[in-house]
Amino acid sequence: MQMSAPHVESILRVRDLVKHFPVAGSRQVVHAVNGVSLEVYRGETVALVGESGSGKTTVGRCVAGLLRATSGIVIFRDVEVNAPSKLDYRYMRGKIQLVFQEPGESLDPKMRIEDSIAEPLRAARWPGERRAARVLEVTELVGLQVKVLRQYPWELSAGQQQKVAIARAIATNPELVVLDEPTSALDPTARAEIIELLRTIQEKLGTAYLFISHDLSTVRYISHRVAVMYLGMIVEHGSTTEIFRRPTHPYTIGLLSSVMLPDPRQTLRRGLQLKGEIPSPISLPQGCYLASRCPLADGRCRLELPPAVDVGRGHFVHCFKHDETRQFQFVAETGGALPASASQSVQPSP
């Protein structure tokens, strides 16, 4: 199930990314992202997971150049995304694309599907004939029928709309696609289809994904590496196998033990339970950001920000207590198969 990461060349490097948003009518700021560093290699999928408000979308938008970082650097190949020169800008155009959570939102309701898909091509200055051919090509690639090209977004189902959004994103042959919860607005069947599609595209084209999601089971299925975010920081990152086999940060453990599978015999772990909710990003707590919710926190956790600790196999954790959390570690279950009795023997035909 796990894909081996093709560690060829790094295409995206993010260093100490910080993003603040002003708070209307006050001098305070929202500390949306507080020093995120990450790297994406060609053809791999890096997942960003974490609680709502932890800054995943903001990181994605800074990477795609839609937001200007407060500080830190985002380097795509050799180009600084946050301050591209004119030449760099032309080079970069179309190389990074973004797919949003709400399929409907990214499509202009007044435009035919073909025009929506052609839009990034036009922006990247593709000549007219090649544009039309490319639109057809990607439409087939995402498995849509050609007739949808003449239709309008509202005539399509949510699943189809999301396929259009993906077709549009890959039209310019991007090297990196930021997928911001691309399946959370879809029902389970459509979701499964989209995930399959993303995998196929990656196999064929070698596109890298920054995959933002709440859905841990999908993350486990699709990504090579995982970064867990909490309150604007990456608290743990490593290969997917590592994170799901040996979750080490208390937040990751809490997150993984909250996953409920459609299996009544799954034992829900209550060993390390987080209390309460994510603190306000306006006034950041001192010390470890999780201290207020963490059952293991002690005085030091409340005073000092824990540095990254290498626990081996490229697995990094920001936690003073990473030794103690070992007793709570477990191999996370995130689905994958039906209860045996339900799935195997049964055949569809009556």
């Binding site: 389970p188 089971s217 809490g254 409920m260 909710e277 009795s341 339900a342």
Partner: protein, 320 residues
Amino acid sequence: MSDVRLRVENLHSYYFAHYGTVRALRGVDLTLEAGSVLGVVGESGSGKTTLARSIMGLLPPPGRIVDGRILFGGRDLRTLTPQEWQALRGRDIAMIVPNPRGELDPLLPVGEQLVAVIRAHTDKGHREARDLALGMLRAVQIPDPERRFRAYPHELSGGMAQRVVIAIALSCSPHIVISDDATSGLDVTVQAQILSLLDDLVRQQASSMIFITRDLGVVAHVSDRVAIMYAGEIVEMAKTTEFFDHPAHPYSMMLLSAFTHDHALRARWTKEGDSPDLVRLPQGCPYASRCVRAQPRCQAERVPAVEVAPGHFVRCLYPL
């Protein structure tokens, strides 16, 4: 265990919209035993909210119950007067709604809203009601309840507001709690906290619960029995373990397979097809057009519910 708190028989609820009659519930039968949790699962538009609102006697217009009975405490709720309804709601049957920040009065501190409900259903004075309200906020594990009592809805996080709504629902120790999609907007860690809290409180009060959700994963863990809805009908109902071990309806299989990343398995149970149009329903099984097991007979006749195992009902001519 087996004394029945609520029995719904042959319930039909339609929306008389300008574009036609939306037949949102078509002959729903269910029973809810004392102290048990019934999980109701179905895709968007299958009629879950309509079912909850019908039981609460508050179908928004143009919706109306057109047939059936809802038996509670020896009476058919459809015969209640508006006054009797008002007394019953919140006291005997309480509802937990999704997106609670939008459901609370934005201009009133949440504590006062809790007090208002308590006072509407008991003869407690303001002081007593306040004490009970604080107790409830504590019971739903809101930190610093005295301060939160005075907080306005917009000052609470989604999870906090959800706890307040649970406190309101449980404040009068209702016999039945109906939770409609109550945790869908929450983070998984918060969802896990709230579910275990809800579970504990409902069992403590010996209430019964109808737990409505789209998430089969949640249902597997909170409910004693599962009902699967499709196009306004309950297509399968069974004990939770029985359901997950031996799902009998092809639609249930499709739902379960969508949770897996087993491509072949999913393909085996999924077929492209139109989602049901509740205005122009086919004569036969509404799932037939998407069903991998469908036979000509399925299109032709209305499908009755059959008992494939003790207490396991399926509305399918060719159950698994």
